[in-house]
Symmetry: C3
Subunit: 417 residues, 3 copies
Amino acid sequence: MKELVERLYPVCRSITGNGLRRTLEIVGEHIELAVSEVPTGTPVLDWTVPREWNIRDAWVKDAGGRKVIDFAEHNLHVVGYSTPVHATMPLAELREHLHTLPDQPTLIPYRTSYYAETWGFCLRHDVLESLPDGDYEVFIDSTLEDGHLSYGEHVIPGELTDEIIFSCHVCHPSLANDNMASVAVAVELAERLAATKPRHTYRFIFAPGTIGAITWLARNFERVDRIRGGFTLACAGDRGSLTYKRSRRGDAPVDRAVEHVLRESGRPHRVLDFSPYGYDERQYCSPGFNLGVGSLTRTPYAGYPEYHTSGDNPDFVTEESMADTLETLCEVVAVLERDRRYVNLSPYGEPQLGRRGLYDSLGGRSDTKQAQMAMLWVLNLSDGDHSLLDIAQRAGLPFATVADAADALRGAGLVKE
Amino acid sequence: MKELVERLYPVCRSITGNGLRRTLEIVGEHIELAVSEVPTGTPVLDWTVPREWNIRDAWVKDAGGRKVIDFAEHNLHVVGYSTPVHATMPLAELREHLHTLPDQPTLIPYRTSYYAETWGFCLRHDVLESLPDGDYEVFIDSTLEDGHLSYGEHVIPGELTDEIIFSCHVCHPSLANDNMASVAVAVELAERLAATKPRHTYRFIFAPGTIGAITWLARNFERVDRIRGGFTLACAGDRGSLTYKRSRRGDAPVDRAVEHVLRESGRPHRVLDFSPYGYDERQYCSPGFNLGVGSLTRTPYAGYPEYHTSGDNPDFVTEESMADTLETLCEVVAVLERDRRYVNLSPYGEPQLGRRGLYDSLGGRSDTKQAQMAMLWVLNLSDGDHSLLDIAQRAGLPFATVADAADALRGAGLVKE
Amino acid sequence: MKELVERLYPVCRSITGNGLRRTLEIVGEHIELAVSEVPTGTPVLDWTVPREWNIRDAWVKDAGGRKVIDFAEHNLHVVGYSTPVHATMPLAELREHLHTLPDQPTLIPYRTSYYAETWGFCLRHDVLESLPDGDYEVFIDSTLEDGHLSYGEHVIPGELTDEIIFSCHVCHPSLANDNMASVAVAVELAERLAATKPRHTYRFIFAPGTIGAITWLARNFERVDRIRGGFTLACAGDRGSLTYKRSRRGDAPVDRAVEHVLRESGRPHRVLDFSPYGYDERQYCSPGFNLGVGSLTRTPYAGYPEYHTSGDNPDFVTEESMADTLETLCEVVAVLERDRRYVNLSPYGEPQLGRRGLYDSLGGRSDTKQAQMAMLWVLNLSDGDHSLLDIAQRAGLPFATVADAADALRGAGLVKE
């Protein structure tokens, strides 16, 4: 996964344009991607698909002709969606177009201006401080023209048509944890899932933040009723522990599965209530849709000093962290796949498990095994009101033990779905 | 407010009579009062309006003709509703009619006997202890005759006919905190509210405790369906911090507004569950009415040593405390006035706030302002189920910030009531 | 009660047979028992009544003819439901039929094999260790033949036909706390209840564990709708404090009554959530029945080292503990008997208690008595939604105080059932 992050990192992405296309292309080398191109001007919910932005070069030269800011060195140097410019101006005038982080003087900030036409550069504050007064030549070779907004989808069909979605924003330029680490984790998860015959259908969405999710929702209005829940994936690779932010519903299937897995796993973690800020859960959980989509991150949105700066580079993410995020997602998927509601077909008294070979024959012992306890719990709570996950939580047993017990009972004809 | 307390303090009030009338007269000099006079014998709910009690003079003289207890010195000296008496009796016999506080020997207690005919005097325990044996001449010049029970009302009409009530008991003689301080706060609150054009209608009720509230309820049976909630106000001026006792409902609009204001304000405070004891919330919250009426006090009912004694004099209350109670009530009223339920008219995805001038155009920054967060929360939760107060509590934002955000969104046509 | 435990202790009980019959006979000397005999082969729910087991003698002799294990010395020595055997075999072969507790080498374990035909002996581990190699003569003079399963019932009819059940398993051989202590407590409770004219009907069930409860349920299918709740009683006499395990419902009348009594009593105690393991609450709380049956024990199921060993002998139980269990049950029964829902007939405002002699006439005092508070609470909450127990819990008052207040109010015609 780290390799994929390193390969994707240098690409200059934005919410439209060739960097975004190139990103989808690279992802498509690993998993089959259906790429959609939505024309500029297309109305999408309350929004309109913006013009497409592409950039070839940009720099600021001092009076001596030396490049003091150079897009070729780092693509964060240019404010996203900067309009083209070629002019010479004194530092005082230029300063109005320069963005720095005075408290983090060695880091380049990430800034965009998608919906208000302007241009600008981002740079280290210490570099700005070292610039002498005088005239500077400013050059941005960009285009902002009618074109398309691109997004990609990968679907793993299941037995059921209801869908679990994993949504990654792919609009950020050279930021590693936010969000190429999540892209790498999603690709690996998709590959693992494809090797199974899942019950649910799984959809991976790689789209620019906000406008991409809004475009996808606008074009899939009919589909949303089938979405059982899902995740926005972000910040999947930093060294922090996992953070799960609940969906707006708070107790959607995904919420309950994640919380069970995190608790049972013993992993250090935090669970936060929904708030209408952060990543594209803002869109999926807007009140009209109210999909059960939560957000899984390691350190969450804006929670680390390197967030949205040049400090979020490939060194900031680790293979171990991405593997841990991936493993957690696999465990959550396992719960979603196996969770269901059974009905006890022998609800009056306990059925005689012994004659079905499901119970120890020697009585009087007090060290009943977890597997037998799980069977008793499944029988006792399979009244149509409780799912296996409900039962696991009520019993304080691992989900897999309970699901295995349910399989054994179903095999013996004692419960049915 | 302190001045009004000092002016009202010396009046000898009871549940009927001229002291009560004089109190309403003084209040009426500040705010217009509609005074009702309900005749003795009128059936009110399970009760009957009692005979009217008036007292002109009362004393106990020792064998030497010296007044050892004198109503003219302090009106707590006479048990409320004492029947007339003029007799000479030995101390032993007199003692059965004397009430003191052995644990607080320098304070005169407050006692009444509204519904069992008797007479009595209250005095300092140390004075009682100093009385030599011998005969005492006892004189109470009172009348207990058919007359009227008086109460006053002040109404500030609002856009809506639903009412918020503020109810103060005005039957206690010379006790400052209980309840002239509340009367002073209520008068000031009414004056402030009159200067606005409120949405709700506000009704101030100045009535004797228990029988007064019961009389008012009996005569306003048809009106109670319009009462959205309210307060009994008592002990509004002592140096203790605020105490809110919830209505019987526990989550009535007033309960929620007060709790939000107290929590957000950072004021030290206590919130107590309803109990069927205390002030006239007992009547307003009886199960047949079950109005959402809570009780706001500083130190609550029977919670301070000076309670119902001569220690509750004007020195016991402070202008600062009354001002703080008043300010709290104003903040609560502001919540009640502005709280309402909006519906997001653009519920699918977030509406594009930027093009409506409601959102910063420069993206990538992580220091979103509270005002923008409030807009996102209002949009996200305005689904018909959540009021602005619900949203403020869920978001952990001050109510006013949320209400301002709702105003901005309504102005932009994004939400409607 | 201790005497009854000592008398019942030596009887060799099992889930069928003459020891069980003898136990019911002894119980029947104290309280009238209706004994049912259900033939082998009778289908009961998912089970079948097994063959009847009786044993007369059993021993193991060493090569020298010395009895090294002797059923006559302790009936735990034989695995319950052992098939007859008479054979000589080397120790190595015999060992497969021997059960010990290596961690508790001086105690004989309790083992059974009701549904898998085998034979076996239980013995102290230190005795096993001392046995020299060589041949041993093994003898079990038992029969496993068609016969009957026996259980006994004692009913105390009440005004109402709804029933509270107390169920004791009576299948364990020489184990004192588990469960002869509970039998003794149940007998005493039944005698006390018979001396009253109860409102509810009380049914005491003395049946073998699991198959006995299942048999009773199968034969009383029509009755279960009348069961308002009840208890399985077990481990009623050890020195530990009380443990209540809630019914599957969690808030059944019995659950709430026990929790209130335990909390108010100040007894150290534990309350556990239901789990589908333990005693016959497993059957009563199976999802098809879901009766509100909890389990009252002192130290719970498998919670003490002597559990299911020869250490659970009459010395292990105390009269004091059994008396405390009994007293608790009596208090719970008192709550169940008196708890009901009243309706305030004067719900608008407080009724005037004073003129009915229910309230102190002298006003102004702040030390209102608990009895008066209880009346105010009953009036305030008797709206059809709250039972007296609800009110006691809400008010933080002892149930009896609240029930007495309700009686006084009913006497005054202020509330009705």
